[in-house]
């Protein structure tokens, strides 16, 4: 290398560092919000409808209302391919752009971001995924996990099982199988299920699926055939779900006894099983379909104008609507933060306060066109989840329908476990910061 090239290199390097150092100045009248997405890779089947729903709701708010209280939201996706390593790059990128919120969209990515966010003071919204223990606001002031945690989901599954059998006392001696992705996400419900199993006298059988074998579940289903569980709970994601539905049919497992976590409730997941998938169930906390003013507004202001990435017939599918719900929480939290601080353009620290005072009640749901779309959710200083209600959805062969009433999680069982786990997390991670953020007066 001669001197000239070296100097050129040095100059180039200096230029690049300078470029990176200048964080994009936040426009005066906009709020920047970074969302991880995975429209590519093995989990894209679930990632695409969610990303579309999130993107379209924000686009609708910008188009219909001109943003939140006149402030436009700049929504930017960062592609992770469901890869935790890439999600960290996305986190750093979001941080450098002064995002008001980090939306990790995978449990692995959430786990990786939690310690960072507490130092960088960026709130994390992991909607019904991520670390269940983070529902404890005292130890995790920067993480929010509304409306439910995976532990609530597991307890909801147990309640559903009891409802089907005719009472909690009928659980004794029954066998519940848990098919789960062998990853942080899949393992989340295990402690609660084991705890409840001990209390109610049923047995839990674990059926882990390695990511490499998502589409190769033959031997797992043989084990299920041998063990004959009474119910199966599927904590699956991506290509694992359609395969599980197909295998259940293939192995003559009664499909109506197979219940997926809310993430196993994609339309494509059930559709893969063909007509025999009728009766497949999934926990849910949002409604499917387009029969809601909010979805109609999205169609009118975004989809029909050609500004959506989603094909029109997929608007209103279950995971699409889940994305809409997530963006609704973001927008409502921004609104709350604006009200609390009196500022229009808020920062990440304001957003944390907004999330902590988030209260989407029945009246508010009606105002935003979501009556019957979901149940009210209220977050407080200590309770960062709300432990709201869920229901059991059933696939009728073409679409998801509401099969059960709203089920409340076994909060009395779950909450102490969450607090214990949160304390444990803080103790195991030496130097975990003590909460210094004050609680709002209202919460």
């Amino acid at each position: 290398m001669n001197t000239k090239t070296m100097m050129m290199g040095a100059a180039l390097g200096a230029l690049m560092t300078a470029g990176a150092a200048v964080a994009p100045a936040q426009a005066q009248d906009s709020i920047y919000f970074a969302n991880n997405a995975y429209r590519t890779g093995p989990f894209s089947g679930s990632g695409i409808p969610i990303g579309d729903g999130m993107r379209d709701y924000i686009a609708m708010i910008n188009a219909r209302d001109g943003g939140v209280n006149g402030v436009k939201i700049i929504y930017e996706e960062c592609e992770t391919g469901y890869d935790t390593k890439k999600s960290i790059e996305c986190y750093e990128q979001a941080k450098s752009k002064n995002t008001v919120l980090y939306s990790p969209w995978s449990t692995g990515a959430t786990l990786a971001a939690i310690p960072r966010a507490h130092i960088d003071k960026i709130p994390i919204l992991s909607m019904a995924y991520g670390l269940s223990a983070s529902a404890d606001g005292t130890n995790f002031p920067w993480v929010f996990i509304p409306p439910l945690t995976y532990w609530d989901g597991a307890s909801g599954m147990v309640r559903h099982m009891a409802n089907e059998l005719g009472g909690m006392d009928k659980l004794k001696g029954k066998k519940l199988g848990l098919i789960h992705l062998d990853a942080p996400f899949g393992k989340e419900p295990i402690p609660v299920l084991e705890n409840l199993a001990k209390k109610y006298g049923f047995e839990v059988k674990l059926y882990p699926v390695a990511a490499a074998d998502m589409q190769n579940q033959g031997s797992l289903w043989l084990s299920i055939r041998r063990d004959r569980p009474d119910f199966l709970y599927n904590q699956g994601w991506g290509a694992m779900n359609p395969t599980a539905v197909k295998e259940a049919i293939k192995n003559n497992f009664p499909i109506s006894k197979l219940v997926g976590v809310w993430w196993a409730g994609g339309d494509d997941d059930a559709r893969a099983g063909g007509p025999e998938a009728k009766g497949y169930k999934s926990l849910n906390f949002n409604a499917a379909g387009t029969n809601f003013p909010v979805i109609q507004d999205i169609i009118k202001h975004v989809v029909d104008k050609g500004n959506s990435l989603s094909p029109k017939d997929k608007v209103g599918e279950n995971l699409y609507n889940r994305g809409v719900y997530n963006s609704m929480l973001v927008v409502e939290a921004i609104r709350t933060a604006q009200k609390l601080t009196g500022k229009k353009v808020i920062t990440g620290e304001d957003m944390r306060r907004g999330l902590e005072s988030l209260n989407v009640d029945e009246a508010r749901l009606k105002e935003i066109g979501m009556e019957g779309f979901a149940t009210p959710t209220k977050i407080s200083c200590t309770d960062h989840s709300g432990h709201s209600k869920m229901y059991v959805a059933e696939w009728d062969g073409t679409k998801w329908t509401k099969k059960s009433d709203w089920i409340e999680p076994l909060k009395d069982e779950v909450r102490p476990l969450i607090e214990a786990a949160a304390k444990d997390y803080a103790e195991k991670n030496t130097g975990w910061p003590k909460r210094s953020e004050a609680c709002e007066k209202s919460s």
Partner: protein, 357 residues
Amino acid sequence: MTDIAARPAPRLFANPWIKAALITAAIVLAAIVGARLDGSGTLYKIVIDPFQQMVSAPDLLAQTIWEGLVSGVLYALIALGFVLIFKASGVFNFAQGIMVVFSALTLVGLYEMGVPAFLAVILTLGVMFLLAVTIERVVLRPLVNQPDIILFMATFGITYFLIGFGESVFGGNPKRMITEQLYLPSGSIDLKILGGLVSLQKIDIAAAIIASIMIAALGLFFQYTRIGRALRAVADSHKAALSVGISLNQIWVIVWFTAGIVALITGIMWGARSDVSFALEIVALKALPVLILGGFTSIPGAIIGGLIIGIGEKMGEFYWGPLIGGGIESWLAYFIALGFLLFRPQGLFGDKIIERI
């Protein structure tokens, strides 16, 4: 019982197979004796209980072996794609997995555009041929006579190109394989035998038959035709093959096209069992332990290796998996392969490479 192994018998030990068999027998015998003494402890669960289960529920055993057989044949098919290219260009084709996805996506994508199913198959084959020609022109030809590692890295490039290209053309949404339109059977044959139910999926039977025919046809083609001989010449030495007038370019196109056909069939079969999405790419990596076991250069090796891995991992997962919490299948395959490698480092049918320094 261990004294059988301990007895000095140098001549017998010269044969690695006998050595392996004796050591295994000794371990098994010791374990059984141990388990008898152990009662119902861990050792009992490892060496006695699974076999009792096999005897008491022969229908499940038959089902497990059948599942293993089907996966084994499909693994063999994927492995074959690797072996063909390895023989012709001495390179491990990292892009084989994405070729499976790409061909299946092309097929389903064309069908969705309104092309009749069988025409879509023919058009997909055309696309795979075009891909083979392009890869030969753009990637392989400029790299001729470069070290193998360069070609290997080039296949990474092909992988990333095909991922991006496939996603931009067909999108990342999972699609359903057009099984019925291709007249592939669905449903199952339920045999009431062995005191239980053994259910054979018709699609699995079809997969096993089609894969076997493919494997046999390819084996014969490369063994007995002029092109097959040319391929083997190329495999031995690019330079020598060129010097006797074999067209390296032509051979490469043929081999990559054949790998493309294998990829398409793999894609149809795996796609029918699950769905067609980019997750199928991972399935192709299931061929790695098969290749380690069977040797990178041997077609029979790919077949036998596939069957051993397929049956071995299903049996292992089903009977021994629960002991350590299940989900052992993915690494068990490598374990089986490594076990064989201890005694045959070149793989079951691989060529013994003797290099003198």
